[in-house]
């Protein structure tokens, strides 16, 4: 059995770790790219949402490397993601690919059924204790990954050479993917911190002090938030424009909530969002619609300069959220912009909107604080 899985930003690092700790052969598909999307779009229904098209592309590219089993999580509610496993299985079968699809969810609410599927994937050689241990290590790694991402968010607007910051990020990801010990994981996070600190010290302090970067909160559909290919490099681009990005969902928060049923909080828990959303959207609408609204409220209360919502075209829960957001914009006087992406989205349109949005925030906020302390970047975690 050679297991593969769909890409979603940096999730591959965590999933690869999980299977490798269990000695299961795993194929990490090539990163999302134009080619992935082209291949996936060819097999997908036109009206399917973007993540499905990318997933299919991932499987086709993984098949070339000999993958024969797909692992995907399930879900409930109006969001179409819950059907992905089944729909993808049938599409692949019709297209002549011999893939087995294992959907990690309790079928009809049966935890025993879920346990059986996990057992099937892990094989006979792993005890439940080992499976649990592997799960916990992968989870810790995903928390570390999120911390690194957050450090990079803070570093982008503050370090002068974007390419170097991206290289640091890239190297950190590589280190995290390779290490198989808790010490290695912690060391990587520290290494990134040190690196940023050193670079800042090289800069010195200009006489006129530092400009505090603008802060933008990103909310919306999880896949588009977490996957930089899908969001057209939204976070990186904003960083280049001098903005510090924060987002509503980090991978470990989603895993903690969705897979561990709230037993683990993740790096930044998403638990509080429904209660924040209450005055505006008091019930579950599928996907992360309610979380989007709640996160927007939370960001607004924290005093971010602006909020960007991003989702794939035709994403129903986010469309519901998008129609609620203007109320939050009004109530908290915080600018909110919505971006919608699909395979036809052009880089230029996104670029123009981002520049205009940052301009809007800049001009509204010419009196920002000067003279930040140096510790700022390194105290970003655990807000």
């Amino acid at each position: 059995m050679k297991v593969t899985f769909p890409h979603m930003g940096n999730a591959w690092i965590v999933i690869q770790t999980l299977f490798e700790s269990l000695n299961v052969e795993v194929v990490v598909p090539p990163s999302n790219s134009k080619q992935t999307l082209t291949m996936g779009t060819r097999l997908s229904p036109e009206s399917a949402c973007l993540p499905l098209k990318l997933n299919l592309g991932n499987y086709l590219e993984a098949a070339k490397e000999g993958a024969d089993t797909i692992v995907i999580t399930g879900g409930i509610g109006p969001c179409r993601f819950g059907y992905y496993g089944e729909v993808e299985r049938q599409i692949l079968r019709d297209a002549g690919y011999d893939y087995e699809v294992v959907t990690l969810e309790p079928p009809d609410g049966s935890l025993l059924g879920l346990a059986k599927r996990i057992r099937y994937l892990a094989g006979k050689d792993n005890s439940w204790a080992q499976i649990l241990k592997a799960l916990r290590f992968a989870y810790r790694k995903s928390v570390a990954m999120d911390r690194v991402e957050d450090l990079i968010h803070a570093a982008r607007p503050r370090l002068p050479i974007p390419m170097e910051t991206e290289k640091l990020y890239h190297d950190a990801k590589r280190r995290l993917a390779q290490t198989m010990s808790d010490k290695g994981v912690q060391d990587t996070v520290r290494w990134v911190q040190e690196n940023i600190r050193e670079r800042q010290e090289e800069l010195g302090t200009p006489p006129e002090g530092f400009q505090k970067p603008l802060r933008i909160g990103i909310v919306g559909e999880i896949y588009t938030i977490l996957d930089p290919y899908t969001s057209m490099g939204l976070e990186e681009e904003l960083g280049r424009l001098g903005v510090e990005v924060d987002r509503s969902i980090y991978l470990s928060g989603w895993v903690g909530n969705h897979v561990f049923q709230g037993l683990a909080p993740g790096y930044r828990s998403i638990k509080s969002y429904p209660s924040h959303a209450k005055p505006y959207l008091p019930h579950f609408v599928g996907g992360h619609g309610q979380e989007t609204v709640g996160a927007a409220v939370k960001f607004a209360q924290e005093g971010v300069n602006g909020i960007i919502q991003i989702f794939p075209l035709s994403c129903m829960p986010e469309i519901v959220a998008a129609s609620v957001l203007p109320k939050i914009q009004e109530a908290y006087k915080v600018p909110i912009m919505t971006l919608i992406v699909d395979e036809h989205t052009g880089q230029a349109g996104i670029q123009t909107r981002l520049e205009a949005f940052v301009d809007l925030l800049e001009r509204a906020d010419l009196q920002r604080g000067i003279g930040q302390t140096r510790g700022d970047v390194l105290s970003v975690e655990g807000r």
Binding site: P30, S31, S33, K34, Q35, T36, P157, R158, L159, P160, P162, M163, E166, Q200, L203, P206, E208, G209, F210, Q211, K212, P213, Y229, G233, L241, G242, L313, S323, P326, Q329, P335, I340, D342, H344, A348, G349, Q351, T352, R353, E355, A356, F357, V358, D359, L360, E362, R363, A364, L366, I370, Q372, T373, R374, G375, D376, V377
Partner: protein, 341 residues
């Protein structure tokens, strides 16, 4: 500053390339409106040639701003001091013309925008996202189909007695619905007025959704020349549309104002403008597909006599010689100091 110093604003869009020459006393010396016709480089050079013919020998350009979808290309060729997105440029121009303005409706060749200003600052904006229904190109096309010059479209629409209902959700359906209405025997003015109404409805439902439209309202962009559309907006919104004098070149005007703002902040700064002789300079553009990763970015390179002026189009920054990196976010420099903590 002497009288002979000017600011240049250039707006290179999909359909038209607009050039504005601004005197140092904020009055407009010259405006040019050219069709881009898919050749932005040649059009920019053509524009400079026309401009040079109209300028006095002693005239000097002391600041250049570019905007529009080809702003980066224009900035490279001209040597711009400011490169700005068209939303900010339109907003700056409108609030300079009338500081009271609260809403800008802008409809261009292939895109449409709405910009909400409060106290002279942009507070909200939207651009058309997934569809270009109801923009200038669509009107052009329908005028061509009906065999009337685009200039007559508006005046004819104003003669309508009973505007026809036309499905305006999508250009393609609007077109088939329009043909159907023609075949039923409706008069041309009624059909044109119906098209105007459909287009305005479409704009307000898509771009203007959830936006707090308050007067004074500026109507800008090439389509503002069409009185039929103006009237349809006024009927729908119940407020007068103000069409500013330079409605068709507001983006370029905004870019010129932004250049002026920048030079005003730093009088000692030399403009990067490469000079009017660039009308004769030979530029070459070539593109190649980077094979560094699976993204296969299309990298574009602008050359002048074998030296590379700029490259862009790559996601990772491997090829980018971003001439405008330091001027892309002009306002940051204005405030001095780098960001950091």
């Amino acid at each position: 500053m002497r009288e002979d110093k000017y600011f240049l604003g250039v707006d290179v869009g999909s359909v038209s390339t607009n050039i504005v020459l601004l005197r140092s006393d904020n009055t407009v010396e010259e405006t040019l409106y050219l069709r881009t016709q898919g050749r932005p480089m040649q059009t920019i050079q053509e524009g400079i040639k026309l401009l040079r013919a109209k300028m006095r020998k002693s005239a000097e350009i002391i600041g250049v701003g570019t905007t529009g979808s080809a702003r980066q290309l224009a900035a490279t060729l001209l040597g711009a001091d400011v490169v700005k997105n068209e939303i900010t440029a339109h907003a700056v121009a409108a609030s300079r013309v009338n500081p009271e303005v609260q809403t800008i409706l802008e409809i261009g060749g292939q895109d449409s925008k709405i910009i909400i200003l409060r106290d002279g600052v942009v507070s909200d904006f939207a651009m058309n996202t997934v569809c270009a229904a109801g923009t200038g190109s669509f009107l052009d096309q329908q005028a061509a189909r009906l065999g009337i010059p685009i200039e007559e479209f508006g005046p004819l629409a104003l003669q309508a007695k009973h505007p026809v209902q036309i499905a305006g959700r999508c250009s393609v359906f609007a077109e088939s619905d329009m043909i159907h209405k023609q075949q039923l025997g409706h008069s041309l003015p009624d059909i044109l007025a119906g098209l105007c109404q459909a287009m305005v409805r479409n704009y307000l439902n898509n771009v203007g959704k959830n936006k707090d439209i308050q007067g004074p309202i500026f109507f800008q962009g090439g389509v503002a020349a069409n009185p039929g559309i103006c009237k349809a907006f006024e009927d729908e919104l119940g407020q007068p549309m103000i069409v500013p004098e330079h409605y068709g070149v507001m983006g370029a005007l905004g870019a010129a104002y932004l250049a002026q703002e920048k030079v005003g902040m730093r009088p000692e700064m030399q403009s990067r403008f490469r000079g009017l002789h660039l009308a004769e300079t030979q530029f070459q553009a070539k593109s190649f597909e980077c094979s560094g990763c699976a993204n296969r970015c299309e990298v574009v390179e602008i050359m002048q006599d074998e030296t590379s002026l700029a490259r862009w189009g790559d996601r990772c920054g491997k090829w980018s010689v971003d001439v405008s990196a330091d001027i892309r976010t002009g306002i940051k420099e204005l405030k001095g100091g780098q960001r950091g903590a």
